[in-house]
């Protein structure tokens, strides 16, 4: 633990000067200094993925990333995915699929999926599962999360309309 020092971070395309302990982790600078609450504290141990952000497009766990490791790099948070204040295509797919219960893990799911889509735009279900293997969801929303991401990577396989709308009884595959 050290005294705070001025540090320049590039977050969501903008440069932000902050005052923070250089021995601290990136997550706390994002949440506490910059008020970016997309990334969540889940474990602090790089075990659950709730804190995921992108650094130069790669998904990393902000809870264990040294703050100084972000200096000079492009950091993207969940808030930075929105386009003109609107959800991006991936975020909209999560809305369309109603892919949330409590939603606390969603930051990690969406950020990890965003990194996957960038390097593998047509990822299969198995590839998506492999990419999300380090992300925990306790509510059991996994299948909806997979379907939401497949709306982007496998649009040709989308046979099912949005789950919402009027469909009172019957089975959903």
């Amino acid at each position: 633990m050290q005294m705070t020092k001025p540090i320049m971070l590039t977050i969501n395309g903008q440069t932000h000067p902050i005052e923070a302990d250089p021995t601290s982790k990136l997550l706390y600078a994002l949440r506490d200094n910059l008020g970016l609450h997309g990334p969540k504290f889940g474990c602090g141990l790089s075990e659950c993925g709730a804190c995921t952000v992108l650094i130069d497009g790669e998904a990393v766990h902000a809870c264990v990333t040294p703050l100084t490791a972000a200096i000079g790099h492009q950091v993207t948070t969940l808030e930075g995915l929105s386009v003109g204040g609107k959800p991006n295509a991936l975020q909209q797919a999560f809305i369309d699929e109603q892919a949330a219960q409590c939603g606390y893990c969603l930051n990690g799911m969406i950020m990890t999926a965003q990194a996957l889509i960038t390097r593998n735009p047509h990822a299969t279900r198995d590839e998506i599962k492999a990419a999300l293997q380090g992300n925990l969801c306790r509510c059991g929303t996994h299948l909806r999360i997979l379907r939401a991401i497949e709306r982007i990577t496998q649009p040709q396989n989308q046979t099912n309309p949005s789950p919402t709308g009027s469909a009172p009884t019957g089975a959903t595959p």
Partner: protein, 765 residues
């Protein structure tokens, strides 16, 4: 559709109060958060339930707010309750926002638990909204100088019948006033009767109830704009962390504060008996200080850090848990008795017996418990994601030795809790820290605090015994269960400050089982115990996940013993038409072909496929589940490939919301079945992170979960959907593994080593 993130007038602002919290936090933009969270001088009590303004506000811009003492624990209850209100009020649902839980703004409708929200709060809100509609029609009649029966209310407007131009918005009728109309209310909590004289809409005219309205909270949750309790910030707020004892009952011997005092922004160490916490200006400072004091993932020993603890070693050996549960003192309670069981068993040709065990399991919230407290001498305000803000107001008042009217709990959604986890305990921690420093303090537990100290679901032991006659019919059924307390409501902080009995009670176990079979002789007995080893509190489908495992897995054993198809065996012994309906509906969706379970022996170590079926009646919701599994004898790994669920929870308010809950229940209970077991040594819980307490990951998610909704009809009142589909899963998997391999699994969880041991015992038979 999303909630509109801007400020509206609250009821109390409209009548001149200065302190009103306005809209539920999740609906607020961040700038509004700070504004509404400025330090207030006094707390406000809940509103009068007999007044319309306690439930509804209509704003000048023709938006409206529903106020409910219920909260949303991630299940979508907010949207479903809004649908019920919008339906009866004849108001557009996308213009209706919901304030939940905040004690100064809402009526106490009982805690949010037990899958009881739609069942009990639904009718209360329905009646209040119907009374609201009638009050608005009355005002419109006066406005147009006509009679009430000449007014038609629809989509937020009142219109004179036959005169479409004579139309006025609800907002214009209310004109910025609060709805000071007496609608009446008697009773309390779940049992409260609201607006008993209100005329309710005929369900055949429903346009909003029964629709899969998109959830109000999801857009903000996917963009990061949503405010969870973990995200609340107050002006001047400090950060606290707790430092829990090394052993459950270790005593704090000494604290060396020299190192933590050097931390930049250090504010105060707070020590009361065995309660230890630290407050700093920054969150990282608090985490660093707590680490120096001994808040780490795996503490080395009780004296290894700046806080020195006694070496308490009073927990029993984990390996002895079954014996301890069997031998713990308790009350025998017969839940159900018919005929002469002992006589029938004594004279039977064939008797089967089996014992089932389940371990301590945890709620395992992804977001560790968090609360913010602002305690002064005059009043105490809390921000919490608790399932029971109104109850917490009284409990924390007792902790602080204050009058409940000096307290206000502002409810803000937390990460899912699935029962009573650490959220209430974090409020108590924050209260103590804020009281000590006289400033607002945010406390978030570290992962090891959550895993180590959240109250667990208790271990349960069950013995089953049944007699079968020559025709393959069950003539006697005996089910005996040993159940430690499900609901210890004492607060951790109270115990640590030396007043363990100040709030709550340890409670006792209860046999959560709905016996439904039609056996001529049957006896179900519970051995209801107090605390055994670890602190417990209700975990999703409390005890009934475990009792359904034993009961339905044993039914499968009986079906196999009589070479009967396991679906047919159930149908042969059931009369409950709703149970039969869900079993048949699940079977039809699955494409069930009748045959006895194969009971094959593992072939050459090759993966083997099987199917299983089970059902439950949990508080009048019936669920039948069928699953396909593949068992790999080489690894002992069980992969679930397909799941079919038929659920009858009566009239469904939001079909996609119920499906989402069923899917979640299935996946979470798969995780509990396949992976989850709390471990402990003689001092404390040792499964203190996701490595020590693994849960299901994406690689073990089934290919599909198909959900059929049965009796989704106004003739069947709405029952719970938040828990019941958890119950059948373990029995379904145990039966499917038997079908695939001939091995019986009777102890949770079904981890690979246990599966391999069971397979080996079959191979050696």
């Amino acid at each position: 559709m999303s909630a509109r993130p801007r400020l509206r007038l609250s009821r109390r602002d409209m009548v001149g109060f200065a302190t009103g919290m306005v809209v539920s936090f999740p609906l607020l933009a961040r700038s509004d958060m700070t504004k509404s969270a400025s330090r207030v001088a006094t707390a406000a009590p809940p509103p009068n339930a007999a007044k319309l303004y306690a439930w509804l506000a209509v704003h000048p811009d023709n938006t409206a707010t529903l106020f409910t003492g219920k909260v949303d624990v991630g299940t979508g209850a907010q949207t479903a309750l809004a649908q019920i209100a919008a339906e009866e009020l004849d108001f557009p649902i996308d213009r209706l926002s919901v304030v939940m839980g905040t004690t100064s703004e809402t009526v106490d409708q009982g805690p949010t638990y037990g899958s009881l929200t739609i069942r009990y709060a639904g009718p209360q809100i329905r009646a209040a909204a119907a009374a609201g509609r009638a009050a608005l029609i009355k005002r419109a009649a006066a406005h147009f100088a006509t009679s009430a029966d000449m007014i038609e209310a629809r989509d937020g407007f009142c219109t004179v019948k036959g005169a479409p131009h004579r139309r006025i918005a609800y907002g214009a009728l209310v004109a910025g006033q609060r709805l000071d109309v007496t609608i009446g209310a008697t009773g309390r909590g779940f049992a409260m009767q609201v607006a008993p004289h209100a005329t309710l809409k005929n369900p055949k005219h429903y346009r909003v109830v029964g629709q899969s309205i998109p959830r109000k909270d999801i857009p903000a949750k996917v963009t990061g704009a949503f405010t969870y309790v973990q995200d609340v910030k107050l002006p001047g707020m400090l950060h606290g962390r707790v430092v829990r004892p090394y052993g459950v009952h270790s005593k704090l011997i000494s604290v060396d504060d020299s190192a933590v005092k050097q931390i930049p922004g250090f504010v105060q160490l707070v020590r009361r008996e065995n309660f230890l916490g630290v407050v700093c200006e920054t969150e990282w400072g608090a985490i660093t200080a707590a680490k120096i004091l001994g808040s780490v993932l795996h503490p080395k020993h009780p004296q290894a850090y700046a806080a020195k603890w006694s070496n308490w070693q009073g927990l029993p050996a984990m390996q002895a848990l079954e014996t301890i549960v069997r031998e713990a003192p308790g009350q025998e309670a017969v839940v159900f008795e018919r005929g002469a069981v002992d006589q029938a068993i004594a004279s039977a040709q064939r008797v089967l017996k089996a014992s089932f065990q389940s371990p301590f399991q945890m709620h395992g919230s992804i977001g560790p418990s968090c609360a913010i407290a602002d305690v002064t001498r005059e009043r105490a305000i809390f921000w919490s994601g608790t399932q029971m803000p109104h109850q917490d107001r009284h409990d924390i008042a007792k902790l602080l030795r204050m009058n409940p009217d000096q307290l206000e709990i502002r409810w803000v959604e937390a990460a899912g809790a699935y029962g009573r986890n650490g959220l209430d305990h974090a409020v108590a921690d924050a209260a103590i820290l804020s009281q000590a420093v006289g400033k607002p303090v945010r406390v978030q537990w570290m992962r090891w605090d959550e895993h180590g100290w959240e109250p667990k679901g208790p271990p349960i032991v069950q013995d089953l015994e049944a007699a079968i006659d020559a025709a393959g019919k069950v003539t006697a059924w005996k089910h005996h269960m040993w159940v430690p307390t499900l609901g210890d409501t004492t607060l951790i902080a109270c115990a640590l400050i030396g007043h363990p009995n100040r709030v709550g009670a340890i409670g006792h176990g209860a046999p959560a089982v709905t016996y439904a079979y039609d056996f001529p002789n049957a006896r179900i007995t519970g051995h209801d115990e107090g605390k055994v080893a670890l602190r417990t509190a209700w975990l999703r489908s409390p005890a009934q996940f475990e009792t359904t495992f034993a009961m339905e897995a044993f039914i499968d054993e009986l079906a196999a013993a009589t070479q009967t198809d396991p679906l047919q065996f159930r149908l042969d012994h059931l009369k409950d038409p709703r149970a039969i309906a869900v079993l048949r509906a699940a079977a039809a969706q699955y494409g069930w072909q009748p045959r006895p379970a194969h009971a094959k022996k593992p072939q050459d170590g090759k993966p083997a496929a099987g199917r299983g079926i089970a059902w439950v009646n949990r508080d009048d919701t019936r669920v039948a589940t069928i699953a396909d599994v593949v068992v790999d004898p080489a690894t002992g790994r069980i992969q679930v490939t397909r799941v079919v669920v038929a659920q009858d929870c009566g009239l469904v308010i939001n079909p996609d919301g119920v499906r989402n809950q069923v899917e979640g229940n299935v996946i979470q209970s798969l995780s509990r079945t396949l992976h989850e077991e709390v471990t402990f040594d003689h001092a404390n819980v040792t499964s203190r992170d996701w490595v020590g307490y693994p849960i299901l990951r994406f690689d073990q998610v089934p290919e599909s979960i198909e959900v059929v909704l049965v009796n989704n009809d106004p003739n069947y009142p709405s029952h719970g959907a938040g828990e019941p589909a958890t119950c059948p899963t373990a029995a379904v998997l145990a039966s499917a593994v038997f079908d695939a391999t001939g091995a019986r699994l009777r102890q949770l969880p079904f981890r690979p080593a246990r599966v391999k041991a069971a397979l080996a015992s079959v191979a050696n038979r």
